[in-house]
């Protein structure tokens, strides 16, 4: 479970990125985080990743207050989070297998090659890339790269998937293919997607947290969204 309680994030120059934001996300929930640029969507994701701490308030992830100054186990927190980015962040000098295996090795460095191979193959089948393990990023389309990024995010025991504009660089057809992948894992993991794409949000009818100027202005269950 994720709880944001009165979270404020003020940057050193004084601009307020989040202003008293509070919400709760149940385990295995599917949530869209929407709002115009600068609304605070990415700040929420970064706070969840503990890239930085909030100015005040508390953020509880699985009963641990990650906003606390005494919280030091950032690696452990991140090992439970899968992250998908707009720009994929796929290592160009590694093949698909290695790009996914890196996520597993970070979680458990004692896995042998057979265990890695089995786990990676399983997740590649899940994202419909069963034959692409040995290919390098330069040999893949943008849609395929984002599938690899999703595979890397969901492999192993990562229970919370955070996606920051995952379809921002994709054409409409590929966008839907990627969303189908998220639908596939719905109910098995907590999914939080920050997006501008109104079509997707309105079609999928999931919970929507609407951000505006650093404030949570709406929390709509099975909702839609208009820009």
């Amino acid at each position: 479970m994720i709880i944001f309680d009165n979270v404020v994030k003020r940057y050193p120059l004084g601009n307020v990125a989040l202003d008293s934001v509070s919400f709760e996300i149940e385990d295995n929930d599917f949530v869209f985080l929407v709002g115009p640029s600068g609304a605070g969507k990415t700040t929420i994701l970064r706070l969840l990743l503990r890239e930085y701490a909030p100015t005040s308030g508390s953020i509880i992830v699985d009963d641990t207050d990650i906003a606390s100054k005494s919280f030091k186990n950032i690696s452990h927190l991140r090992q439970n989070l899968g992250v998908v980015f707009q720009d994929f962040k796929i290592l160009s000098d590694r093949n698909v297998f290695e790009n996914i295996a890196i996520s597993l090795k970070v979680q458990d460095n004692n896995l042998d090659h057979t265990q890695l191979k089995d786990a990676v193959q399983k997740v590649l089948e899940m994202v419909n890339l069963p034959e692409k393990g040995m290919l390098f990023p330069a040999q893949l389309s943008a849609g395929e790269l984002q599938r690899v990024a999703i595979a890397r995010a969901i492999v192993g025991h990562r229970d919370i998937i955070i996606a920051d504009e995952p379809t921002g660089n994709l054409d409409p057809k590929t966008t839907w293919e990627i969303m189908k992948l998220f639908k596939k894992i719905e109910g098995k993991k907590t999914i939080i997607i920050a997006t501008h794409n109104t079509d997707i949000v309105n079609s999928l009818k999931k919970r929507v947290l609407v951000m505006k100027e650093g404030k949570l202005v709406k929390d709509i269950r099975k909702g839609g969204y208009e820009l």
Partner: protein
């Protein structure tokens, strides 16, 4: 292992820079260790030699020599006084020159002097013993080793401090150069490190490949030093043999276990190169660790 060689292939100049500075450092460290070992061995050897040797004229009578020996013992300034007869001196001479028969042909026991080998209780008593002997009848020459020992102690002390300064300088220089070159490499891997951090990799997990690489550099550089110094020792061996002729062995006695320095032996060489390899690997480890820490702390 594959990752290590891939890394060298991807950044060959970085490897060359790190290798050269480490090779230079380890080569000088090896040379200093070997030189110091020989000097300490030589010091130990000289210290075990009689501190005062008095040679008598060839016509001096044994009884007169024994009388002087007894007087010396009575002074209570000596720990031992050993008489070497003409015959014993000849035996020693024959042993020392067994490889040059020409020298043996012309010498007989008659022309070699008898001598007393004297060990003093304290070094301060050496001049008094020497003065006491100089005035005695039948004494030809008093050979006084204190100066040699003092000079060797002095030289060893200077060399030890100079080496310490040089060691420190070389090690700092290597660490700084290796840290800088590794930082370039780490900067090139910015995306990978950023991704690893987001995936939850621990600091040690991120550092591990760089630490291994640093240690690998140390290992390769010490291996190269081993080969080069090995060739130099083989080349210099005949000269060393001539230089240390008459000295049966040089040993290091301050070590936790006795170590023979001369004649050259596998144990000594392996110990020196184990120390140097350890030095190289530790330098590589520290430099890589500093480079990654510096990057991660940004």
């Amino acid at each position: 292992m594959i990752g290590f060689f891939q890394s060298i292939r991807r950044a060959p100049y970085q490897f060359v820079a790190a290798f050269m500075v480490l090779f230079f450092t380890l080569f000088l460290i090896t040379s200093l260790i070997i030189t110091l070992s020989f000097i300490y061995g030589l010091l130990g050897y000289v210290e075990t030699r009689p501190q005062v040797t008095v040679y008598f004229q060839t016509k001096a009578l044994e009884n007169d020599i024994f009388k002087i020996r007894d007087e010396l013992v009575k002074t209570d300034k000596t720990t031992s006084v050993k008489y070497i007869s003409k015959q014993q001196a000849f035996t020693i001479y024959k042993e020392a020159n067994k490889d040059t028969p020409l020298l043996l042909e012309t010498i007989s026991a008659d022309i070699l002097p008898a001598s007393l080998e004297i060990y003093a209780k304290t070094p301060q008593m050496l001049p008094e013993i020497a003065n006491f002997l100089k005035d005695k009848q039948g004494v030809d020459e008093v050979y006084f080793q204190k100066d040699i020992v003092d000079r060797l102690i002095n030289l060893t002390s200077i060399l030890r401090y100079a080496s310490l300064i040089l060691f420190t300088f070389l090690i700092i220089m290597s660490i700084v150069v290796m840290t800088t070159t590794t930082m370039f490499k780490v900067a090139l891997k910015k995306d990978e490190i950023e991704l690893l951090q987001l995936l939850g990799a621990t600091k040690f997990y991120i550092k591990k490949p760089y630490l291994k690489e640093g240690m690998g550099y140390g290992l390769i550089a010490s291996g190269a030093v081993f080969i080069v110094v090995g060739f130099i020792l083989v080349y210099a061996f005949p000269s060393l043999q001539t230089y240390f002729r008459g000295i049966p062995s040089l040993d290091l006695t301050f070590a936790p276990f006795p170590l023979r320095v001369w004649p050259m032996n596998v144990k000594f060489i392996l110990i020196v190169f184990s120390i140097v390899t350890l030095f190289g690997m530790v330098i590589g480890l520290i430099a890589s660790s500093l480079a990654v820490d510096k990057y991660l702390s940004k």
